[in-house]
Amino acid sequence: MSTPDFTSSGLRRRRAVNRLMELLAWACAAIAVGILGIVVFSVARRGAGAFNLDLLTKTPVPFALGPVKQGLANAFVGTIVIVGFAALMALPIGILVALYLIEFARPAVRNVVTLALDVLNGIPAIVIGIFVFGLFVVGRGQSGFAGAFALGCLMLPLVARSTMEVLVLVPTSLREASLGLGVPRWRTTLSIVLPQTIGGIVTGATLGVARVAGETAPLLFTSSIVGTQVSWNPSHALQTVPVAIFELSESPDPADHTRAWAAATVLLLFILFASLGARWLATRSRRKLEAAR
């Protein structure tokens, strides 16, 4: 850096540049918040007008003529089933991975597995869809299980990461106290260390569910060729909310757009509440653990 220019004209110019840059930074933040406001507002405004209970209770009517009461009940049920199974797969494995990396693994192993988790997190969702298509769908056909497996792959690194982040915050003294009392390592890990991190695990689970509930790409190849009936059976392909919105948005019929807006509003509200809730939980559990240190 060159020596600052302290002559009065130089000082005035430098102050002006500084002022300009500060204004630009304020403008950047305002733009980002503005974009969020515009997107959420324009979805909610169109969705709120279109929303009624039929959306959640009625099924779609293909080739409907005239005003037929129809909804997306099959998609909401399908999303619940698929996301539920995805969480059942990703949560236990993600927590175990985090336990292994923080409690047992040597640093070299930890580096390799952490890198693998980061790479997994960076693989595009559509590629995960193709992968599960090749793994389960070819020869066997689409199913809710295949969709849930694809979403589970996306959830796994999120759950593992957020569990790791709280595990490292658990004070070593707590582990040492437990081991010092003669408690075996596995019981120390499962009944002393793990319960301390429950806040972080719930956060990770909520963030994971919020992220995958809105995913479309992995489901296109694994669970998208569906009927219009409500089904809780994941061995068949199930309709989901994101895939339904995707299909309706490509339709030329304005009535379909209306339903897409309504479904998008429900999905968006769920996801925003879940991720803000997760944020709140994360701050709370971190503060608690840091206070205990």
Partner: protein, 328 residues
């Protein structure tokens, strides 16, 4: 309590010869989970290569440079060049828009924002990342696209039409330009939250030292914050680029489609990811299906390259500065 019990307990835990069954089981089960997570990355790569085998064998590397997508039986010919071009132009322009904006936001949040604004604005920017791509795409195709076509595109065309990027707006409404804006919105929160954490890691004494020498706040940022965070900013931009390259749904919804290379932002096109998503209702032949998976293989290679490069930079910077920085 007898003395035998007292001497018994330590012998079991301190000799280290007899490993407890519980310890062994937990370590094996947790280790197996970690191994499975690592193996998953390899399995994904293997399965995608396997799916692309037919197309790889038929076209080899020529696939990458050919502009073609003809599924008509008897005249089948596939190539990735136009999609590669579409991916490059959309993701690079999106990064050019979102990158500076994200750095501005990070500066605002770390250096300028009043204490009361800091947490809420951080939360709001990160909330932007939570909006599902299909919802952004819905908004992009029904609200943003028509607005751009009616107002922004004609205005840019009349003023800057001599630059080939700003060609005649298409009547269809879908355009590469809309895709660029949508992608920029989607990668903005990722880049800004990583950059923010980097800026938070800049040592306070360096910043205060610069200010004490009489620099303005901007000069301090340029002279201390940027050089200190340079490597990390590069990693954040690369991760943002990776995200933009891999986004399929929102782009498919707004970009319109088409197999050609042209410079006009205001006409349709396709990216690798959007082409795959657009064809989800089933390929008509094995070769077409395999060629779609070939497109996915190219995407996978891109994502591995961007992620590993970014991680490599992050680890190098972290080792040098002894600070951990967060990932996307």
């Amino acid at each position: 309590m007898s003395s035998a019990e007292l001497t018994d307990a330590p012998r079991r835990s301190f000799t280290g010869r007899r490993v407890r069954l519980g310890d062994f089981l937990l370590q094996v089960v947790a280790g197996a989970a970690a191994l499975a997570a690592t193996a998953l990355v390899l399995l994904i790569t293997y399965k995608v290569v396997e799916g692309a085998q037919l197309s790889l064998g038929t076209y080899g590397l020529g696939f990458v440079t050919r502009v073609a997508w003809n599924p008509v039986a008897g005249h089948e010919l596939y190539g990735a060049a136009s999609f590669l071009f579409g991916t490059a132009i959309t993701s690079l322009l999106a990064l050019a828009l979102a990158g500076p904006l994200a750095i501005g936001i990070a500066l605002f949040l770390t250096e300028l924002a009043p204490r009361t604004l800091r947490a809420p604005v951080t939360a709001l920017v990160e909330t932007l990342a939570a909006i599902p791509s299909v919802v952004i795409g819905l908004w992009g195709i029904l609200v943003l696209g028509p607005q751009l076509r009616l107002h922004i595109e004609p205005w840019l065309h009349s003023g800057l039409g001599f630059i080939p990027l700003f060609g005649t707006p298409s009547a269809a409404g879908a355009s590469i330009f809309t895709a660029v804006i949508v992608l920029a919105i989607m990668i903005l929160p990722i880049v800004s939250s990583i950059t923010r954490e980097l800026f938070l890691g800049v040592p306070r004494d360096l910043k205060e030292g610069a200010l004490a020498l009489g620099t303005t706040r901007w000069e301090m940022v340029r002279g201390v914050v940027f050089p200190y965070a340079r490597g990390g900013i590069a990693a954040a931009l690369i991760l943002g680029l990776g995200r933009a390259i891999g986004e399929a749904i929102a782009v498919t919804q707004v970009i319109g489609g088409g197999v050609f290379i042209h410079w006009s932002l205001f006409s349709g096109g396709d990216t690798l990811a959007s082409k795959i998503a657009a064809q989800y209702q089933g390929a008509t032949s094995n070769l077409q299906e395999s060629s779609l998976i070939y497109l996915g293989l190219i995407l996978l290679v891109f994502s591995l390259v961007t992620n590993l490069t970014a991680q490599w930079i992050v680890r190098r910077v972290a080792r040098r500065q002894g600070v951990g920085i967060a990932r996307a």
